[in-house]
Each structure stands twice: as structure tokens, then as C-alpha cells.
Homo-oligomer: 324 residues x 2
């Protein structure tokens, strides 16, 4: 299923805005990949890079790291490290992807911990980037400030925002709120030269007052999964009511195209493609259950990072921060 979706996304990438400059490769088990590429008529356009091992969703990152050195993740990351590819997109196990990428590509100078960033839809068609979304459960204020720099660079590059507004996820807008790490981070961000707007709360993630929301990976992951749970719960409750009687059903039918537009507007697939920031190379995590459209989004995220030289931008910004 995932492979099918990937191959459709690859084939549609050739008809997208990236045509011309884009060359595509896939890494994995050739006997599985070749027939799918043939079926879509793109077997001559896409390089197949063989990888004999598979990292499962249940493998622990450390097992994956040490024992499966010919996995698609290892091989893909090496393709980036060795300059064959500009970027690598994977829908695999997040923890393993981060561990393997970190081992193979290393972190950028001045970055202690790479982070996973997640794009959240906001009102008025805006977007908010939240990081870390789950790579680092425990963070110091240095880590959080580095996340802020990386997120700010990303939003400049990906969304063209000149001075992205950076907020610190906290449990109140007042300065006295939060843990000691949060208070220290806030003081550091205020002096960082970033466009720091202070504390933000869970209710602000969908608003248009902030572009980059910084938090540790524990809090970020809980927030992301809570969003997912809330949306699923509300959708279930709504569906139950809209199918509860003839009149309701008729109304839902009449409003069906509006409901479809609503679904499309809040579709998380549109925001698929979570950049792993802080690595010496571009790696993007796709959702494991991605369909073709979502895969295309993740590929687009990677293309954007490449064309905007995100890695260099982060390196320069971190350098500036350290010199300041």
C-alpha cells in the first residue's frame, strides 16, 4: 500500500513544478519496486538503489541502528551523505529514521540535537511549525534555543516569512509560568536576535499570531497526538449525529460538498512531510500511512528545503547566534 502510494507520488512528481531539475531515486527491495515502477511507466526515470534489510515499525531505534546496516534508511542516508542525492524522504519508523540519519549524516555545527518539526494548519490559511515533535523527550534551554533558530530558518525558507514570530509553548502567557528550563529558555530567546514573541499556549497553535512554536519532544508529541485524537473524536460524534435520522441525512447530503471542502481543508495529509532539522543533510519524515497525495507533499517539502539551501541557512544562523 505505502509503496503503491509512493510510486504514484513519484510519477506525479514528474508532472509537477519540479520537472527538469528533479531526479528521483528509490531505495529498497528491487523485486518489489521494479514491477510497480514499470506499471506506472517510470522505471527508466527513477533510479532503484537496492537495500536488503527492512526496519520494522516495532524495531527499537538502537537495534535498527546497529543490526540493519543495509536497511533502506541506512542506504538512503548514505546516498545523501555521499552526495548522490540532495534529500531523502522516508515513511518508516520515526525513532529509527532519526537515529540512523544522525549516525550517518551527523549534526550541523552548533546543533546538539536534531529535531522533528511538524506543520500545523492555522486559521486564515496560515501554518504554524511546531518543534520538537517527538525526537527529544528531555531538553535543556540550549536545545530549545537551537530548535527556535532551526524553526525560524525553516519558516523563512519554506514559507518566505522574513522574520518568523517564535513562541515558547507554556501553560500561561505570564512570565512566571512553567518549569525552570522554560523560564531560562524564555530569557535566552529574548536575547537571541530572533523575533521572539514570548509564551504561547496550546490554544495558540492554530492561530495566526505565531509562526514557530518551540517545545521539548515530549510535550510536542503529546500536543500532536492530542490534536489527532480531538479531531477523530469530533469527526466520530459529528458523523453519528449526521446519520441519525432521515432529515439529518438529507441535510448532510445537501451540505456534502461543503463537508468535503471542510475535510480537505483540515486534511492532515496536506501537511505531510516533517523535516528532521539540524542534520548535515536533508531528511523528511512522511506519515507511515501516507497516500499518494500526502507523499507528494512530503517530496515537495524536501524539494523546497533543497532549493532554499536550508542546511546552509541553519549553519549560518547558528553561527551568528553563537557569536552574538
Amino acid at each position: 500500500m505505502v509503496l503503491d502510494a509512493l510510486v504514484i507520488a513519484l510519477s506525479s512528481a514528474f508532472s509537477s513544478c519540479y520537472t527538469g531539475s528533479l531526479t528521483l531515486g528509490v531505495v529498497g527491495q528491487e523485486d518489489l519496486l521494479r514491477p510497480l515502477l514499470e506499471q506506472r511507466g517510470i522505471v527508466d526515470k527513477v533510479t532503484i538503489v537496492p537495500a536488503s534489510e527492512v526496519i520494522g515499525m516495532c524495531d527499537s531505534p538502537s537495534q535498527a541502528l546497529r543490526r540493519k546496516k543495509d536497511s533502506s534508511m541506512h542506504v538512503g542516508a548514505r546516498m545523501v551523505r555521499d552526495g548522490y542525492w540532495d534529500a531523502f524522504v522516508s515513511a518508516g519508523n520515526t525513532g529509527a529514521l532519526m537515529a540512523v540519519s544522525r549516525l550517518v549524516l551527523k549534526t550541523l555545527p552548533g546543533i546538539d540535537r536534531p529535531a522533528i518539526a511538524s506543520m500545523i494548519p492555522a486559521v486564515n490559511g496560515g501554518r504554524t511549525l511546531m518543534l520538537d515533535a517527538g525526537a527529544n523527550s528531555e531538553c535543556t534551554s540550549e536545545h530549545l534555543v537551537q530548535f527556535a533558530v532551526m524553526g525560524s530558518c525553516y519558516m523563512q525558507a519554506a514559507e518566505g516569512i522574513e522574520a518568523p514570530r517564535v513562541g515558547l509553548l507554556n501553560i500561561g502567557s505570564e512570565e512566571i509560568k512553567g518549569t525552570d528550563v522554560i523560564k531560562l529558555t524564555s530569557a535566552r530567546l529574548a536575547e537571541s536576535g530572533l523575533n521572539y514573541i514570548g509564551n504561547v499556549e496550546g490554544t495558540d497553535l492554530f492561530g495566526d499570531d505565531v509562526d514557530v512554536v518551540v517545545c521539548d519532544g515530549f510535550v510536542g508529541n503529546v500536543a500532536l497526538k492530542t490534536m489527532e485524537g480531538t479531531a477523530r473524536f469530533l469527526a466520530q460524534a459529528m458523523r453519528a449525529e449526521l446519520t441519525s435520522g432521515v432529515v439529518a441525512k438529507a441535510g448532510a447530503l445537501l451540505a456534502s460538498s461543503a463537508l468535503r471542502r471542510f475535510k480537505d481543508r483540515v486534511n492532515p495529509g496536506k501537511y505531510n512531510g516533517a523535516p528532521l532539522l539540524g542534520l548535515n543533510g536533508i531528511v523528511v519524515k512522511s506519515h507511515g500511512g501516507a497516500d499518494a497525495e500526502s507523499f507528494s507533499s512530503a517530496i515537495a517539502v524536501a524539494c523546497r528545503e533543497v532549493s532554499e539551501n536550508l542546511t546552509d541557512r541553519i549553519t549560518e544562523s547558528v553561527q551568528e547566534l553563537m557569536e552574538a
Copy 2:
């Protein structure tokens, strides 16, 4: 506005199931309260306890604690402490309410930190209790285990669940996930004698697999506010689409009673009334913007805690835990 809602809730409490055994009092500025009670014809049934000072939403807990000893919070908590009232419900500043309650009522034996618990609607009409919802930003594993005991007692008392399923909020279901505090807490919960089911995630908060979700107040508060933000964002997007054209509007009109039932089903006001657990007395926090119906919910939460002797139950359970 809040006072109006409160007085309506008080007057409706007399016609509720609690009549007979229930005596009600209000604490605050008499010149404001008396006319409202007269208007509703309940001035003879409700005792007015005067309090000259007001703690504002912007007062810091420590200022409120020291400088406003004749605030409605101080007076209300003293009414409980001195045995005049069985419970105290407040819609005021949460941090101040916790600080004042803790100072006046003290914590129960064996409880280091009281927690705020929040009820979350779940699928199939169920409910999940999450604690701490924001009182304690930084928690040790001892605190988290105490929260688990208190939450379990609450769900036994309030929902009649014999052995509430307790989950630990984490960023993955595997045991290796999370911070050191979380891992230690998990090991302790497994030996606590509680019905501990292991790690749960943000997506599980609305499910029917867990009754009590334990987390520190930072994570809990972010999760709660993220729910609120997600629901608000989805409602806005839905409204925008359903009012975007004649056909959509007609459909929405036909489905309006279904949409109203949906709204009622997920209405947070129905779940209003967050118990402050671990105090030597019953205190319930109402949402600051509560309407009459929501206030009634909060009063009902307090009544339930009183009739089920929650304070004694917690004391006994903590005692058992410590002896085990």
C-alpha cells in the same frame, strides 16, 4: 455575567435531586449578591458570607495568597476548613484558588502536591479523567503515583467504576519511551496495586480504553488547551464551509438539529467542574466563563464528592499505598 449564571445555577439546584440535604451559601460582596438572589426569590434560602476583597484573573497566586486574606477564596476555603461548608466551588483564578486552598485547608496525609483533575468526554458516552491539568509543572514519580491514586479514587466515587484503568501519558506505547521520571513512574505504578494499564498517548484521551490518565501539570495543561484549540479551529473551518453558499446553508439548516445535538454532546460546559484533589476539604474549580448550566455541573461535581466521602477514600488509599 458570572454572578448571574451562578445565581441561576443556585436557584436551579433547589429543584434538583439534591434538594433536602443541600444547603447553599455564597461568598463575596453582599451588595452585589443580595439583589441577584432577591431577583431569583432565593435570598432566604442562600446564606451570604461576606468577603471584602476580590482576587483578579491577573493577580499572581503568591500576591493573592498574602495580600488578600479577606478575598472570597480565602473566606470560602475557611468555611470548609471550619466545618460550616462541605465543599467550595470557585470560578476564579486557578493558580490562586490552588494556592489559597492549600494554605487554608492543607493537603491530605501522604499527599505532597494537590492536583487539578479534568474530565474529558470519550467515545460511547464515556469519560476520562486527566490529572494533573496544570497545578504542578514539575513532578517527581512519587507525585505522579499519588495523582494516580487520587484519580482512581475519584473515578470510583464519581463514576462508580470499581477498578478504574490507569494509564500514564507518554509518547509511545513501548516501555522504552519517555523521560526518566516517566519510566520510573511506570515501574512504580506497575507495583502500586492500582489497575495500571501502561503507557497511553494523546490519541487515547478520547477513547474508551482508559479511565484515569496521569501526567505532570505542564503536559496536562498543554494537552487540555490543545484540545480546546483543535475544537475551536475545526468549528471555525466547518462554519466557514457550511455558510459558503445557498446549497450548503440549506443543508446545514436541514441538519441543524443534528448539528445542535453534536454541539451539545461535545459541549465542554457539560464537563465543567475540575476537582482539586489531595486537599483536606473539597474544592472544585469552575471555568471562568461558565454559564448557569456549567455552574450546575460544577456544583454537582462538588455534591458527588461530598456524598461519596472522597476525601476519606483518598486518605485510605494513600495509606494503603504507603503500607504496601
